[in-house]
Symmetry: C2
Subunit: 462 residues, 2 copies
């Protein structure tokens, strides 16, 4: 057994305690009131990296939330790997549905519960632990390693592209490894080959100067909620297909070979639905559920509100209604073009008396794809096979990790996704958790990945 | 000039100060946290009535908010009039749209701004002032007078029917006068002949055990907001007609004579829409706007919410959605039957994967109608003609005042609606106000009404 494994075993309790410390910081990037907490998480991870052996780890300013950079470049002749992660988290609301408070991490039944446990403070901390184990036992890493940790992933990484462009020299690498990833089963690893893109907007509807008395003006005045219902109703047809004109124009057609490859991978949809308490999948009947999630775009209303939400009733005709919408995108859709199509559709379908305006919500993410034969994927496959004793499945994913397409566009490098979260861990939902077993196995897995990457003669595309 | 008029003029500033004192009490009946404030408003009005000369004025308990009763019965041989009012108010939200805080009454440009100013603390206080002026100058009232003031009007007067039944002896009267009324113009009085009924319900939709990650389950999981949009969209057709099967079955057909009578009354719809910042009326094209508001039922979504409402975006598939709905009803619709029809319709139109439940919101109010030739209406017509020098218009109204149908059912008496609010005074909306001129003119008008009622040989229907 590798000596770094002994180190990981010996420091197991400390690594868990440090993970809990990071989880206790409410680094909700979407909430302006949490700005200093996002910064606290940055400072914490920079300190943690320095303690692990990355002596130059530092917090860097951006136009938004700060970024943490660190590097260990003392392996001449070896390739350089840029490890990506994020220390921000989704909002914890609705709070009343959490069994234990979202920022007071609690271990129950071999799981650690807290907002950000699975997405992705656990994956971030296990990668740092693996590097520390290598450095403290061998005095070196098998490859040159840089860390790029951001605090805006959950809000679309808006200021990251400019930051990367301005700091190219500190980010030079042959390959990126995104720790923001997961696996389909407790003993089933995967290799991620594709991720969806994202675009988001808010729709604001106004129908009058002020809320109105439904007795005085009922039957006469337009109702902003009725208008919003009409607008949102027009976005899909009666069978669940997205009805926005042009929405699917740039979607890469699905070949029969693609469909067979997807159908051959064990389908965990029934399991996911079971966890969520859902009887049956819903959506466009022309595609299988897995196809709809992996290679078809979506349009989801994420939030909707207007009028009176308090106790009892209020006989009011609301003058305002608001909706938040995000679309998951697939190759070769462009976030800006799709958002423009949705806006035009809404303006065409807004009923009489409804004044509609928009706000762009996320910076937008391009869809991403890494070739199956990439040397970084080969190294990851060997590491995961050694860890689990079985080959990883080739997965696509319905989620978005904007950094993948961004690093390809700005630094010309591909990204291997390598993480140990699981799909049932309530990411973006109440009672988010991570399995402690995965947190520990992941440390070994990440140390193995570094070893395998060091055996690869080259990692870049050139 | 009547001596009570001198008294009203002399005590003008005190009456205004007392009005402001009542407005400062946040007696929001729908909000459980305001329960003690509703009680404070009850105690305040009982004190005020005692000070005016109703020595037995007292606060009475109900199963809900308290009721205030008072009587002066020292006019033997004269009819007895039951003056109805309410001291509760609508919720003030959204607070940020108020120019001055809703419970810190402020006089600006001859108007007093506060929640409840127009609906109906002003009308309540002017009625008390008029009685006080009679009692303090003549030592008597022209008729026997009882007061019935409740604290649940804005939530459907749920506990009032049982209270009235249990206190019939304290409420015996020949006629009721509801001060919860208004007039169409600053110098244009009206006689109200019909009011709409009301029924309200909340619709709760659930599609999963918890909110879900739109990347992991987008394209697969049902979205509670999509389901709610589909449900609410099914409630009306593309031209704005209510599409609930059976909804209009019990609506009394509109005769050509009715339509002509309605068309002959000057239409203030354009004025109302202008105040509200609305370009054009919307609704069922088979009826005029005034017909839709006066003699046709409505179905309005008063509140709608689900998913993420905070800053920025959250890529979540919401598992819950909620909507509050109220229907205004016309003769001969029954509130319970209409609510049942709406529930059945919603259950029939709920999409796959949506679990729907309901809550009844308001006790429900029957629609009401008082005959044109009722002696109470004749007395009111003479008083208003004397006050304004012109005949009142015969109005119907789209609003609901549940007490009217309730008093007819429980005590066998009709109700004359007699108040001085105006339709542009932002009732149920931010920046509610009352014109000070109407508050003062209304005191004279109410004193005149008492005089005219005293001249009427009989007021009951028997």
């Amino acid at each position: 057994m590798a000596i770094w494994q002994d180190y990981l075993t010996h420091h197991r309790d400390r690594f868990l305690a440090e993970f809990q410390e990071l989880l206790a910081i409410p680094s909700v990037s979407t909430n302006p009131a949490r700005m200093t907490d996002v910064r606290r998480a940055a400072v914490f991870t920079a300190d943690r990296l320095r303690q692990a052996g990355f002596s130059n780890a530092a917090v860097h300013e951006t136009t938004g939330h700060p970024v943490v950079l660190a590097s260990w470049l003392e392996a001449p002749g070896k390739p350089t790997v840029l490890v990506y992660g994020h220390f921000d988290v989704q909002p914890p609301e609705p709070l009343e549905l959490w069994t234990s408070p979202p920022f007071e991490p609690e271990v129950r039944d071999g799981r650690i519960y807290a907002r950000g446990a699975s997405d992705m403070k656990g994956n971030l901390m296990l990668a740092v632990a693996a590097c520390e184990a290598w450095l403290k036992t061998s005095g070196q890493l098998p490859v040159n390693v840089r860390f790029l940790l951001e605090g805006e992933e959950e809000v679309g990484s808006a200021s990251l592209p400019d930051f990367i462009t301005a700091h190219r020299d500190l980010l030079q690498a042959d390959l990126a490894v995104s720790a923001d990833s997961g696996q389909p089963g407790e003993d089933q690893p995967m290799l991620l080959t594709a991720l969806r893109g994202l675009t988001g907007l808010q729709v604001d509807v106004r129908t009058a100067r002020t809320d109105l008395h439904s007795g005085l003006l009922g039957g006469i005045a337009p109702n902003a909620l009725h208008a919003m219902v009409e607008i949102l109703g027009s976005l899909r047809d009666s069978e669940g297909r997205i009805a926005v004109a042009g929405f699917h124009d740039d979607v890469r057609p699905l070949s029969e070979a693609d469909r067979r490859e997807i159908a051959d991978i064990p389908d965990d949809t029934p399991l996911l639905l079971g966890y969520a308490g859902i009887a049956a999948a819903v959506g466009d009947p022309d595609y299988t559920p897995r196809e709809r999630n992996w290679v078809r775009p979506t349009l989801d209303v994420n939030g909707l509100w207007g009028g009176y939400e308090g106790e009892g009733s209020k006989t009011v005709i609301p003058c305002e209604a608001h909706a938040k919408i995000t679309c998951r995108l697939v190759p070769d859709q462009d976030p800006a073009r799709v958002q423009e199509l949705v806006r035009s559709h809404i303006l065409r379908h807004a009923p009489q008396g409804a004044e509609v305006s928009f706000q762009s919500l996320a910076g937008g993410a391009l869809p991403y794809h890494i070739p199956d034969d990439h040397p970084g994927q080969a190294a990851a496959q060997r590491a995961l096979t050694a860890l689990y004793g079985k080959l990883p499945l080739h997965y696509r994913m319905g989620a978005s990790v904007p950094i993948t397409a961004m690093l390809h566009a700005l630094l010309g490098i591909h990204t291997v996704s390598y993480g140990f979260g699981m799909f049932d861990e309530n990411m973006h939902a109440p009672n988010e958790f991570m399995r402690l077993r995965n947190f520990e196995l992941g440390q070994t897995g990440f140390a193995l990945l570094l070893e395998e990457l060091g055996r690869q003669p080259r990692l870049g595309d050139a």
